[in-house]
Amino acid sequence: MTDALLAGELPLPQRPDYLRHGSTIRSWLATTDHKRIAILYAVTITIFFFMGGAAITAVRLELFQPNGWLLTSDTYNKLFSFHGIIMVWFFLVPSIPNTFGNFLLPLMIGAPDVAFPRLNLFSWYLTIAAGAFTVYALVAGGVDTGWTFYTPYSSMFSNTHVFAAAAGVFVVGFASIATGVNFIATTHMLRAPGMTWFRLPLFVWAIYATSLIMVLATPVLAISLLLVIAERVFGLPIFDPARGGDPILFQHLFWFYSHPAVYIMVLPAMGVVSEIIPCFARRRIFGYDFMVYAMLAIAGIGFFVWGHHMFVSGQSPLASLVFSFLSFIIAVPSAIKVFNWTASLYRGQISFDSPMLYALGFVGLFTTGGLSGLFLASIPVDIHVTDTYFVVAHFHYIMVGGSVSAFFAGLHFWWPKVTGRLYPESWAKFAAILMYAGFNMTFLPQFFAGYLGMPRRYHTYPAEFQIYNVMSSAGAAVLALAYLLPLGYLTWSLFYGGKAARNPWGATGLEWTTSSPPPPKNFDRQPRVDRAPYDYHAEGMSAGTDPPEMQNARETR
């Protein structure tokens, strides 16, 4: 191959890639190409991410002062509720699966598209419709239940737009189920010849395990929200104790979905990182099969730990014990994964390009978040710190430190493949480091505030917590900057970035064997697979130097 070819500058009359294959609005809005749908999702969730971010910026500003100086209590409550609802259902749940999953799953298994391309497009429209409901709820006056919608507050007491918000989440649930079904079918049916289950990249396994959770757990969320609506709108006695209902029932139903949902947010992140670390360490991932079993175990056990959110709810002590035990057990596969990522570095040829920095950031933050999870699994300690800022810190370490870092890792890793462009690497490295620093500045103080007894969802707070809140708000400013930077340089790269080669990182995996950006049907010839994934020890890969493609990419910058 010549360099020109590698750099994607084909001299011959060019076959259009998926981006240039039709440029009308209609060709985008009616597309069934999984890659274009991935782009639609990417744009959508980016908008949601910054909406959720704007809401929390106001919250963090307010918390500079203990006594409320900017917002009324009502507005404050609506803002953190909006932040939570948007971030969970409109950013975190769809983030990696619907963007990278959509884009990469067919490419990684050597398929021309997903199993049900139209269903794929339909679920994007569902997401848009759902987003419209939720944003309507905000514009019409907001919702103040928190993202958890606890009854009987949400079903009988709140005077805000609970119906519209719950309807939004209900509808986006269907998008989630449709995507899950689609991915499961795709993985089962469309693998290229030779792509056996144990030759699947770990990212595919992660998306597969995530899809199982989406399909099995999301209906329960839908049902619990329907019940809230039924009580609120039609007055059916479901959660109202005065009429024989049970207020705790909602919590069981809600967490039966929402605990597994945490793994919907983090398993795909684990998948992304498992692609990146071997590539930049030039090594096979340590213990591939353990990594697979660990993900399946997480997906399975994830269904049986919901009660650890309810140690103070008044559930039976026996139930608490069982849930506590299972929560410790489910931490084992997560620990295995951290050890294996670490061990994958051993005897590697490690380079620290920006995707790797983000990925290592993920490992660090996920480890910290995971360890704080052990505190929450221990009943007496959980009783003290639950519903405090300790929990806010914990879930941000997992969901934001973990999933969002991995999202950025993947974004930088596959950006050349998706767009055919290279971005300015030094900016990217700077943003990665800033993000790590800003994140810890924001959320580390919250562990202290929480242990010392600052409850979450507090608009005003005892003055002794002010120092922690000021530190946290200052950190959030740094973090916000770190999130805005990529928006800048990635957009810049779309217009001015160097052209990317087929395989700029010298990575293994089928997605790197097609052009960047790929053609509409992904591959010119049906790929065949004859080796295990992460074959970085093959000839030419483990020597002390970069493979030829890699040098090429570095020079282009």
Partner: protein
Amino acid sequence: MNSLFRLPEASTHAVTVDHIFYLLLALSGATVVLVFGLILLFAVRYRRGSKAKRGLMPEILSREFEIGWTLATLLTFIFLFWWASSADLSSLDAPPHALEIHVVAKQWMWKTQHTNGAREINALHVPLNRPVHLLMSSQDVIHSFFVPAFRVKQDVVPGRDTDIWFQASKSGTFPLLCAEYCGTNHSMMRGKIVVMRQDDYARWLTQQPEGDDLAHEGAKLFVSQGCAGCHAASSNVHAPRLAGLYGRTVQLADGRTVSADDAYIRDSILQPKRDVVAGFEPIMPSFKGLLDDGEIQSLTAYIRSLREEQQND
């Protein structure tokens, strides 16, 4: 607040919780040092182009590592579970002679009532070194009774009674917070716990305006709400007598048995058709909407006091 990093340990329970907390902290710290340390070490030693030795690790060796650290984490976690849970189990039930105090939560205040009837709002005075047992209910949404200095927290749920107990071990004033989001002024639902030496507490209690004590209040309600019409010994209606009922096992008409505790009494008042006592007709009307949580607590206290009379006989 004593210092920036330490929360007062003002109950016996706080000491236990902090022990577990510190152990977890030490273990987490060790893990962080280990994992971050290895990552840094590998990052430096095996950076691209360094002279370190490369090459594959023997397959068999990696298998042993894998099994080794899986088992090690599993055992550590089982130990942690066992330790934390046994601390939890040992503090589950309030000691039998704990001081009983009633708490009603509503948007957005804490109402507390002492056995002699003295009431407080957003405050609770308790004696030092004596177990205190709180019986709690909510009038509207779910709240959560949280005293950081005691390391205790318990949701207060409408329609059911929850309870919690503690033994204060330091005198002083400590914040009481609502920890379960309960609407607009959730963050303003704060109060204080005042821990006093036992003799000070006794003196304080006698100085409070003589509210009726709960059981007496309940006795009045028992008559004014018409309970006595059926349940009094002199009544002609065929209804169960309530003396000595509290704490006993009751045989129900459908063959089940239940223990007559607070929840059972509450249910019998609000949903009398649910648990009909064997040998009686389901004729009792529901008092739902007619009695509020405070009144139900008073009636329960009255019925409980009937047990004590029985025992004294």
